[in-house]
């Protein structure tokens, strides 16, 4: 009996979003990264297009963060003390994008508050150190984020940075900064399809073209809510393919940040049950599995922290992009 492989055809398409600008485009990046454009569910390449592989962003900080796992300090070595060195190390580790996280008083050992001048300087140094497109996230305190990111947007005018995270409480300031200086935003909402759509509408209504918006549905790490993020992403992507224009954005997720703040990643052998196994293996597997699971739900940009995870996740992406030819 003949068996025909079912092919679902969708009317909708995810928007293509290009991060970074080359000299010819008004920036200084040596290359740009385009994500999105899918006309099918993740990696079902026999029934639709997935013109761009998902991109891996490697997260670095403007100065040594006080609260990271010892395993990450070990992996990056001296690089964590200087954002320019760290950016070069991230590029060497295989990053497609660099995510510069500006530290705030909570992440800083001395509890100091960063100034706009420091933020400008950090972004300038990273832009000079690497030709990769850049994402810049604030410390996560709304007022401080606004102050720092507005300065960053001005400093890096024309570079098509992704400014984040842009939430309902601060989207006006960040979107205005992106509009004024030619950047993009990462629009984050807490694991809810309707809230995600609503924020996209608010951002669009301010006049920022949706070709400059990433949709960030929030990430729960493996064991800490991944199933909520996973299903919200599947629903958003299905809605996008079925023609809902306000969900047709490429999705950014932060499995690195989520996985590395857990006890699973932070606490070494001795402090945890023996059944948790080897510390480094557990922590890296946690980050990789969180990322690859979310790739299957439609993630277009995954932000990671450990260089070993970057290599593993990139290998998985390459094999998924080979479609039916993989494994042959």
């Amino acid at each position: 009996m003949p068996v025909t492989i079912p092919q679902t055809k969708y009317a909708g398409k995810v928007r293509e979003v290009t991060i970074g600008a080359t000299r010819a485009e008004g920036g200084t990046r040596s290359r740009t990264v385009t994500v999105g454009g899918e006309t099918t569910l993740p990696f079902l390449l026999h029934e639709g297009e997935m013109p761009h592989p998902p991109a891996v962003a490697v997260e670095i900080c403007d100065r040594r963060p006080a609260d990271w796992s010892p395993l990450l300090y070990e992996a990056w070595g001296e690089a964590v003390n200087d954002p320019a060195t760290w950016a070069r190390a991230a590029e060497a580790a295989g990053a497609d994008l660099v995510l510069l996280h500006l530290t705030g008083p909570v992440q800083r050992a001395d509890g100091s508050t960063p100034t706009a001048q420091e933020a400008r300087q950090a972004v300038r140094r990273v832009l000079e150190a690497t030709g990769l497109p850049l994402l810049v996230f604030g410390p996560g305190i709304a007022d401080l984020d606004n102050e720092l990111l507005v300065a960053v947007a001005e400093e890096a005018a024309g570079e098509r940075l992704v400014l984040g995270v842009c939430e309902d409480k601060n989207y006006r300031t960040l979107v205005a900064a992106a509009l004024a200086h030619g950047h993009l935003v990462d629009g984050r909402t807490p694991m809810d399809v309707n809230l995600a759509k609503q924020l996209m509408i608010l951002i669009r209504d301010m006049g920022l073209p949706l070709e400059r918006v990433l949709m960030d549905p929030s990430t729960g790490a493996l064991g800490y809510g991944i199933e909520y993020g996973y299903s919200v992403m599947e629903r958003l992507r299905l809605a996008a393919l079925n023609g809902d224009a306000m969900t047709q954005q490429p999705m950014l997720v932060t499995p690195g940040e989520e996985a590395w703040r857990l006890k699973e990643a932070k606490v070494g052998d001795g402090g945890v049950p023996a059944a948790w196994g080897d510390w480094a293996e557990r922590a890296i597997t946690w980050e990789v599995l969180t990322a690859t699971t979310l790739l299957h739900a439609g993630a277009d940009v995954v932000c990671l922290r450990h260089p070993a995870s970057v290599a593993e996740v990139k290998a998985v992406i390459a094999r998924l992009m080979a479609g039916g030819k993989d494994g042959k």
């Binding site: 009996m1 068996v3 305190i141 998985v316």
Partner: protein, 457 residues
């Protein structure tokens, strides 16, 4: 494809043209055949209550009632592992019901010592996740020695090591018979029948009344469907599919196609659970875990790993639990007082709800802050802070009750309670409910807790 009440009605005596002599006889206990049909469609009645339905109609009805993906059961020492019976492509549409069995492969050719060591390690492994003990399901014993006796010894050693399920990976009839005898009392899965050997293996599976896996090469689903149809016709109905795809890309395509064909096109010959071997398509154990992760999310029924380490087992068991959690019934945390970082009597006391994600968000922030604290989890019926507050499940009365019913008052020397910023409005009422306590309004978001504690405690 389930039949509607009207479809069923047309198959009952009352729906026949010309009418059956026993139309609407009421003997089934319902006033009309139509009423009975509606109850059947709602699965609130059994067809056996009608004595007059024709055998052909009965066959059609029972066929339509069969699940699109057959439920396959393995057993060992009174435990069961059921997989199959899934009804949706995406968990948000309803839920995924039967988590895939996680197995570890051992080769009898590696020697009895090695087999025993792995079997004992796998059998003993258990890890706690939010109060649930998670463990692997079994061992797959591969016949690599070429000696049926050695194979049977290996299977016996695995049985002796614990109470786990078995997959017998052998195509040699003598080896299988010896292994089945060594595994008496269990229902293992035999792996695998192919186009070349299916008659012999079907006979073994039929005689032993055990399920049989069927393998076709290179993701060729047509070959696979033809093979299962032949084997089912030969009398072995409990089948498991191996589409032969081994990589990330081809596995996803093959398993997605099988799930869609079974659910959307009701293709019976592919309406069985799928077995996968992520180690065969991976270059290292981390890639193996990632591919096993794909198989957990995307449609495997049995996953056979080649590497066992506690770290990867822990991650995969948690992922399986997460993906197979019913989206309608979020995991709740047991209400009570949770110590973080060995808190003393002066450590801060914070209250939140028992929605697992709320709890985890707060716990994670406290843990990553490195500061000791007492986290009091109130019974808010599994809702997040704002939802529970709006529904009256996280009000002053409930919070006060949580404080009184827990050992909080004896664990802390102070009388200060931090409440989530979203329920700041409860402050006055709470101070009335808890005389002698000072209520502090914390941040709205968990992420701001470390900063809040640094500044305010």
């Amino acid at each position: 494809m389930p039949l509607s009440g009207l479809d069923i009605y047309k198959l009952l005596p009352g729906g026949q043209k010309p009418p059956h002599p026993k139309a609407n006889c009421k003997e089934c206990g319902f006033p009309t055949c139509l009423a009975f049909a509606m109850k059947l469609a709602a699965k609130q009645a059994e067809l056996s209550a009608c004595k007059y339905v024709s055998p052909e109609a009965a066959a059609r009805l029972s066929d339509a009632a069969a699940p699109p993906i057959r439920l396959i059961t393995l057993s060992a020492n009174g435990h069961k592992l059921e997989v199959g019976n899934e009804t949706v492509l995406h968990r948000h549409e309803k839920t995924f019901y039967h988590p895939p069995g996680l197995f570890v492969r051992v080769n009898d050719g590696d020697g009895l010592e090695r087999v025993r060591a792995v079997a004992e390690q796998v059998s003993r492994y258990v890890v706690d996740y939010v109060g649930m003990p998670l463990s692997l399901d079994g061992l797959a014993v591969a016949y690599t020695s070429g000696d049926p006796e050695q194979y049977a010894e290996a299977v016996a050693a695995v049985c002796k090591a614990g109470k786990k399920m078995l997959i017998l990976m052998a195509q040699d009839v003598a080896a299988l018979r010896a292994a089945l005898a060594a595994a008496a009392g269990r229902t293992p899965l035999i792996y695998a029948a192919t186009a070349d050997n299916w008659q012999a293996l079907a006979e073994v599976a039929k005689a032993a009344r055990v399920p049989l896996a069927v393998r076709a090469p290179d993701g060729n689903l047509e070959a696979l469907a033809n093979l299962t149809a032949q084997i089912a016709a030969a009398g072995v109905e409990d089948l498991v599919l191996d589409p032969g795809a081994r990589g990330f890309g081809d596995s996803l395509l093959a398993l997605t196609a099988i799930r869609r064909l079974a659910l959307k096109q009701n293709l019976r010959s592919l309406g069985y659970p799928v077995i996968t071997f992520p180690g065969e398509g991976a270059s290292n154990s981390c890639q193996e875990a990632a591919l096993a992760g794909q198989h957990i999310a995307k449609y495997a029924g049995y996953i056979v790993l080649d590497h066992f380490t506690p770290a990867t087992a822990y991650a995969l068991l948690v992922l399986r639990t997460n993906i197979y959690t019913d989206p309608q019934k979020p995991i709740q945390v047991e209400p009570g007082l949770y110590p973080i970082h060995n808190p003393g009597p002066d450590a801060p006391l914070m209250v939140t709800t028992n929605f697992s994600i709320t709890y985890f968000s707060v716990r994670n922030e406290l843990e990553s802050s490195g500061r000791p604290g007492w986290l009091l989890v109130a019974d808010a019926e599994g809702m997040s802070v704002l939802t529970a507050w709006a529904a009256g499940k996280f009000d002053a009365e409930r919070i006060a009750k949580a404080v009184k019913e827990s050992s909080a008052a004896s664990k802390v020397a102070h009388r200060r309670l931090i409440i989530p910023g979203h329920v700041a409005v409860l402050m006055g009422e709470l101070e009335e409910e808890l005389p002698g306590w000072t209520i502090h309004v914390g941040p709205r978001e968990a992420v701001d807790l470390p900063g809040f504690l640094k500044a305010a405690w």
